[in-house]
């Protein structure tokens, strides 16, 4: 029945491949920032703000006379580095707490559950703005705040997956064999929930990208003057009349990057899901 509906099974995943190519391009800019955009921070002070098409500045410049194209390419680094760390960090917390809560149950489960409830009762973007704004305004401090705020949903995800595995025969037999709980949790159960966690990792990267650039947009993430898409949007807001591309280019880049990461995440979770059910 199920297999009849899947006519698309053999078709190559065009969308996923395209997304991977776009993401790879952003990744190259992030890693090789100094090579790709060597003049990102150079200021053409005599020029002022210029619109698109001036010789040497394809997309014009911002209020400091910096080239929009180079600045936008250089912004790829803070658009990827922080979100990847946020996703990995909250995955580790989610994996550890979620596994313990799901396997052990009882008081551990209750405490972890209440911690998740508490953080989920507030909109995470709002909480991130408040905490990052009051604690300090560094990029990595903001990243740390986001790890704490993202982890509850990861904890819930892993907890649910572990609770689904625990009553299965292979775990019961492992218990009967007298294998230590730690070994059961991280050697027997963990490999079976890895697919779920990996697919979720990508979705978290996309979400963290949006959250981090939102914070830099409000002036809370990266320091002033740093190449960052959110920061560029904030600066570009005042330049909409002089050089609209100063806001439109980084805006399109944020949307594009978040979308391709989401598409890859969706594709991955569907593929892994299919593999698991096919087993």
């Amino acid at each position: 029945m199920k297999s009849m509906k899947r006519r698309t099974n053999t078709r190559p995943p065009v969308v996923a491949i395209l997304s991977a190519v776009v993401l790879a391009a952003v990744g190259v800019c992030a890693v090789g920032r100094e090579l790709v955009a060597p003049h990102a921070l150079d200021q053409d002070v005599y020029l002022g703000v210029v619109g698109a098409g001036i010789e040497g500045h394809l997309f014009g410049t911002d209020q400091l006379g910096r080239d929009i194209l180079q600045l936008s390419l250089a912004g790829a680094r803070s658009a990827l580095a922080g979100p990847i760390v946020v996703a990995l960090g909250s995955m580790v917390i989610g994996f550890l707490l979620g596994t313990f809560a799901g396997y052990r149950g009882g008081i551990v489960d209750m405490l972890v559950g209440r911690y998740a409830d508490l953080l989920l009762a507030l909109p995470s973007v709002l909480l991130a703005i408040v905490v990052a704004g009051l604690v300090g305004r560094g990029y990595w401090i903001t990243v740390a705040v986001l790890i704490v705020l993202f982890s509850p949903s990861d904890v819930r995800l892993v907890r649910g997956a572990v609770m689904e595995q625990t009553p299965r025969p292979y775990i019961e037999s492992a218990r009967l064999l007298g294998i230590r709980p730690m070994r059961i949790m991280f050697r027997h159960i963990a490999p079976n929930i890895v697919p779920i966690v990996v697919a979720n990792l990508l979705l978290n990267v996309a979400f963290a990208l949006v959250a981090l650039s939102s914070l830099s947009y409000l002036g809370l993430g990266v320091p002033p003057g740093a190449p960052d898409w959110g920061r560029q949007l904030a600066d570009g807001r005042a330049l909409l009349g002089d050089n609209p591309l100063a806001a439109v280019v980084p805006g399109v880049l944020i949307i594009l990057t978040a979308t391709v990461v989401n598409l890859l995440g969706d594709w991955l979770s569907e593929t892994l899901d299919r593999k698991v059910t096919a087993r």
């Binding site: 009762a121 703005i129 009051l134 947009y217």
Partner: protein, 319 residues
């Protein structure tokens, strides 16, 4: 039966109250989050004299133990007295009330737009699963969910306000119609991500119902597609309606960025201003109010679930 339902409702309400209590402790602790001396932070940029510091310490009971301070703050907060804003020097309560209208109007409009566009689109894609229209809308909704509202907002501003001149650029306008006109672009920007979320949600709910045995059976009996769809929609409505409660939290997060982008004097821009200024009493009040609204909405949704679906009623009570 009804007594058991009542007991469940009361239990759920008590849990919400406990959650709010814990949250209020967290919100009060925000005072200690900012580095440096609390009393100095509360004084802000005003002249710091020893007398002023002593007065602030007395006013905020800062020399008392933490829990006593907390109790003192909470007992005032529940009566709507959140203290004095550092930035404006005025009472926090009236300041909040003053800003609520714009936010409520923008968020309400965005909510309406996203439901009116998202639910039909979600149903349309679900019944055409796998066909071009479905794929196009699903792809668009992935982009919508991933697109931050402020980026969408700036692009809308550029195209429709500056480029085409159809809408005003900034501000709130005067009179009802003009004010509404000013809110269209912010609401659309806010509804973009929300609408995409509604599409995904509706599509998943309708597809889940379409895969049920009763649909196969109804079709086998020769019921018209129209009547089958009516059955499906009634069942799919429940998860859709209850998930709308989640959107309230989403709206509160998004509205900060949208209001800053469009320079609207609402609660969201108040969050931004107060955080940047470290106006802690205002930040505390705002966070507490948002927590209250979000948890009460979640409670209301849970209870309405109970009222809509008799199956949930028996399941919830038996737990």
């Amino acid at each position: 039966m009804s007594r058991a339902v009542l007991a469940f409702a009361l239990r759920r309400a008590a849990a919400t109250l406990a959650l709010l209590f814990a949250l209020s402790l967290l919100v009060f602790a925000l005072l200690y989050l900012a580095p440096g001396d609390v009393a100095r932070n509360l004084l802000g940029t005003r002249n710091v004299t020893p007398e002023a510091l002593a007065r602030i310490r007395e006013l905020y009971h800062l020399d008392e133990p933490f829990l006593a301070q907390y109790w003192w703050w909470l007992s005032h907060a529940v009566t709507g007295d959140f203290g004095t804003s550092i930035r404006t020097g005025g009472q926090v309560g009236p300041l909040l009330l003053d800003r609520t209208g714009v936010t409520a109007a923008t968020a309400g409009l965005a909510f309406l737009l996203s439901v009116l566009a998202g639910v039909p689109a979600g149903i349309a894609t679900a019944v055409r699963r796998g066909r071009p229209l479905d794929r196009a809308i699903v792809a668009a909704s992935v982009a919508g969910v991933g697109a931050p509202g402020f980026a969408v907002g700036l692009i809308l501003l550029y195209v429709f306000a500056l480029g085409l001149g159809w809408f005003p650029v900034y501000g709130t306008g005067e009179g009802f119609l003009d004010a509404l006109w000013h809110l269209v672009l912010p609401a659309v920007a806010l509804a973009f991500g929300l609408g995409a979320f509604v599409v995904k949600l509706t599509r998943a709910a309708v597809i889940r119902e379409l895969d049920q045995d009763y649909v196969t059976f109804a079709r086998g009996r020769g019921l018209s597609e129209r009547r089958v769809l009516r059955l499906v929609l009634r069942n799919a409505a429940i998860p859709i309606v209850t998930s709308l409660g989640l959107m309230v939290a989403y709206l509160f997060g998004g509205t900060v960025l949208i209001e800053v982008t469009f320079a609207l004097p609402g609660l969201g821009s108040l969050v931004e201003e107060s955080v940047l200024f470290k106006d802690i009493p205002v930040v505390q009040a705002l966070t507490l109010v948002v927590a209250l609204v979000v948890s009460v909405t979640a409670l209301a949704v849970d209870l309405s679930y109970l009222a809509i679906d008799p199956r949930v009623r028996t399941r919830a009570v038996r737990r």
